[in-house]
Symmetry: C2
Subunit: 340 residues, 2 copies
């Protein structure tokens, strides 16, 4: 019999909660029978949403949590004080082994703090990075750390590279993923102090396929499958991706509406263009896991809709089936340099 | 009588030298009569190019330099050894006061090193930042430092903010430009150690209009006119802008060619789309000045064509007319906090 993946879903987090969270859970449960979703949050509100759908009762369960952590709240305080919030309740289920994963579109800060303090790190993991899939010309790449640990050290980046490599290989199915470090030039002697210190350490690793520096210009071309950087840079990359994409697409649309001729053209190209731009839509790829925790914690976009939620839930099943955490544990506890 | 701006142009640097450099010089001289361009490089090659054009002989002069610094050469060595290279000869003309500005599409490293060692800094300027104009939804913003000084300190960033503000106001004509610091969240307590140290210093400045943090997502929307950051981050922003833009546009083109219907549509939208994308084309905005030097040094894209070269040369005239260096000198020598 297939093992069930139990997932605690924050029904109260994000701009579109609870409606899109509940819809995402129903959709995912229908697609993946070996999944059970615990909808965490204000029971009455969630139940009202659930009446809109038909679903397998054995796959969806409501877990009441009376409080909600708002995005603006200072995360450490929020986690400490709001013991009955959806984030704290969900994370404690992971800690207790009642859930394999926790998924939330809520406060990034609270999810990062809660992940470290409530769920806890795998022994040997120094800092758990937030790992996002980003669209490229060739498909997707994994960008990490994209927001969890600013001012990280070289040894942290080395662990990011190893964990990211495992994730890309076993969750995304990329054989022998190419690992690159974000740099401001292609040559080894280029970079800031952190990159110069990290580069030779990555070069020595026997368990990853390190291909050297990646200039930011090459990231969208898919030059590396695993793109390693410190969180300040990673967050810039992630956010700028969205910003440039959004502005460029709005400019294109504006251009299309500028003349009668272009308006007619726009009608003709619409279906083809939509298909193309879909490939550059982050919501297609599910949320960003916080790697290296004793359990899985995934942050989706604050603006996540049902589709992103559903994709994320299904990703959690793959994460469990592929035993990613066991692989990370084994890898971190092996001295990488001496590994064959 | 209008004062003449003398500009030394590296005729040998960049992917399209000397043809596009020479063409750019001829175009600019025709547009701006109060400009004299010294074409620096191998005389015979430059003269051969010049025979293709009609131009005012008083405005264009060839200065022979036998050597060329290649992009791959270690910059410090190249500047030291190739005394008769176009970069060294051109920069020495600025140092000697024979030229007001030096423009090159050649080796970034050599231009940065040469700028500091041959042209020299304005007294009080700690690090000269490379300042690029980047396209936004609203027009352009100035991004600095985008590559000159990695691992910069807070005091450097403060000077970048002040110099950038002067440039935006007097070269681009933006009244009271909004200055933002690149950060990974909008709140003051967010950021890495450098940003946390710099933020309160910027807040205290009386001579700039500091508006706080700018998340990378907001940069393309034009949230700040002057976008301040350390060079590692700045280089990532600059290069990712190009990379995401290039991939997205190629994806759109691919989408347009995917069906017969979309191909017909593509013909109709082409002129409107071209117009739109032009606004997102970096070459429209000229090169990136290295601010804070005793004279002006401007780096254009390695791939610069005549149009970018010509725009850059005309920018040099504005730079001189607006007495930007005098303004920077005055500003840096004033204690900004106590300035009214």
């Amino acid at each position: 019999m297939t093992e069930i993946t139990n997932i605690a879903l924050d029904a109260m987090g994000g701009d579109n909660a609870p409606a899109e969270m509940v819809k995402g859970a129903v959709d995912a449960a229908e697609k993946e029978p070996a999944m059970k979703v615990f909808l965490i949050g204000q029971e009455e509100v969630i139940r009202r949403e659930l009446t809109k759908y038909q679903f397998n009762q054995a796959q969806i369960e409501v877990v009441h949590a009376s409080e909600v952590i708002e995005t603006a709240e200072p995360p450490v305080n929020a986690i400490r004080r709001k013991k009955d919030s959806s984030i704290v309740v969900g994370m404690k289920m992971v800690k207790a082994g009642k859930a394999d994963a926790f998924v939330s579109a809520g406060s990034s800060g609270a999810i990062l703090v809660g992940g470290q303090t409530l769920v806890g790190r795998i022994k040997g993991v120094e800092r758990p990075p937030l790992a996002s899939l980003i669209p490229t010309e060739k498909g997707v790449s994994l960008l990490l750390d994209c927001g969890a640990n600013v001012d990280a050290r070289a040894s942290h980046l080395v662990q990011f590279a190893r964990m990211g490599s495992i994730y890309m290989e076993h969750v995304l199915g990329v054989q022998n993923p190419k690992v690159g470090i974000v740099n401001i030039g292609a040559e080894e002697e280029k970079g800031n102090a952190l990159v110069k210190e990290t580069f030779p350490l990555l070069k020595e690793l026997k368990d990853i396929h390190f291909t050297g520096s990646v200039e930011a210009r090459e990231i969208p071309h898919g030059q590396a499958d695993v793109v390693v950087c410190e969180a300040f840079s990673g967050n810039i990359i992630l956010k700028l991706y969205e910003g440039v994409g959004a502005v460029l697409i709005s400019k294109v649309k504006e251009g299309l509406m500028s003349t009668l001729r272009s308006k007619i053209g726009a009608l003709l190209i619409k279906p083809a263009l939509k298909q193309t731009l879909k490939a550059f839509d982050a919501s297609e790829y599910g949320g960003a896991p916080l790697l290296g925790l004793n359990g899985l914690v995934v942050k989706t976009h604050g603006s996540a809709k049902a589709k992103e939620v559903s994709n994320t839930l299904i990703q959690c099943v793959t994460f469990k089936r592929q035993k990613i955490n066991e692989k990370i544990r084994e890898c971190i506890q092996t001295d990488a340099v001496s590994a064959e």
